[in-house]
Subunit: 187 residues, 2 copies
Amino acid sequence: MARKKQYNEEEVIEKAMYLFWKNGYENTSVRMLEKEMGINQFSIYASFGSKQGVFLESIKSYNRKTKEMFEKLKNSNKGVEDIKEFFYESVGISGFRGTQKGCFVTNTYNEFAESEDKMIKEQIVSFMDKLKEVFIEKLKMDPTKDEETVLKQANYLLLAKHGLAAASRVNDRKEIEDYIEMIFKSI
Amino acid sequence: MARKKQYNEEEVIEKAMYLFWKNGYENTSVRMLEKEMGINQFSIYASFGSKQGVFLESIKSYNRKTKEMFEKLKNSNKGVEDIKEFFYESVGISGFRGTQKGCFVTNTYNEFAESEDKMIKEQIVSFMDKLKEVFIEKLKMDPTKDEETVLKQANYLLLAKHGLAAASRVNDRKEIEDYIEMIFKSI
DNA sequence: ATTTAAACTAAGCGATAGCTTAGAAATAAT
DNA sequence: ATTATTTCTAAGCTATCGCTTAGTTTAAAT
């Protein structure tokens, strides 16, 4: 038949994901992707169709990376304490390859907040909705909270995460920990 | 001698500021600035030197716009309650020309978090530092708070503002108000 | 009215963006 | 070994980026 692909798509996407995470979407050019992914433009376009295609796959790759953390969060039963641990881990994961900063999802949310790009927005909103659902579930474990309080607090936690992402880009460890503790004081 | 400028620099910068606020720095091209400012590229470069120059002046223009609010915040003596009111006003100002979203400073902070652009970073960091100083002053009005608590809470408020800015781009009024209330529950 | 210096218009500069294409290289199946 | 089919290289496409420049228009000063 024919030649086989010299690269593994999942592997090269993971590399692309780290580059996007580090630089954001707009500040990552296809030439930069070529170098980082180790394949040339023809192969990038043959495999993923467009720069946006590479990015969408990168988000999925990030989802796979965080899935374990997410599953752990879901399966535990410590209520609010689980969310707090998740926040601490979120900060931890940000540094697991050194150059990336903040949370990839929150960074993307910020970059695309004003954008018209529906496919990317969908991915991000879907991720955040899933997270909110988990928060709600955890908060409901406390029987003293009524429905309204649960929704308010879930929304608060989701928004507080934006500050956390910003913090983990510039602030030091202690400030970040203080911030997390402050968040949970009102829950 | 010679011809006079057909435009007022402060006026055209204000228009540029709203465009930058709406689209961010990278997503605003010099061609777009031409249209919005009503002057052509030659005049833009003659007056402000570069696109970055226009942006720096835009930040200053934003500072002038928010100065009144800032002064009011400084001169009041209601402590934490002043900060809360400031948060509510911050959300209000975001909509005062319709198309802008979030807080211009926070948007810029997010866009330039990974950037090497020192001049722009300086402007933003200086703005946030000034805000933090005011927060600290307000928090100190409560004699029961020790120095450490004050610093922790000021940091918390500054970071919480990132969530507020994100919220005011997509969430509805009620969710935003709920979020603000939640922030101050732990103060 | 003439001079003169600045403001203006419009065209275009090189660099880079995302993306495409023509043709050479490689390899599984025959 | 030949064939068939895909991968890969490298060059180049058009569009847009920030910015500049040549040349015209305008108006204050003489």
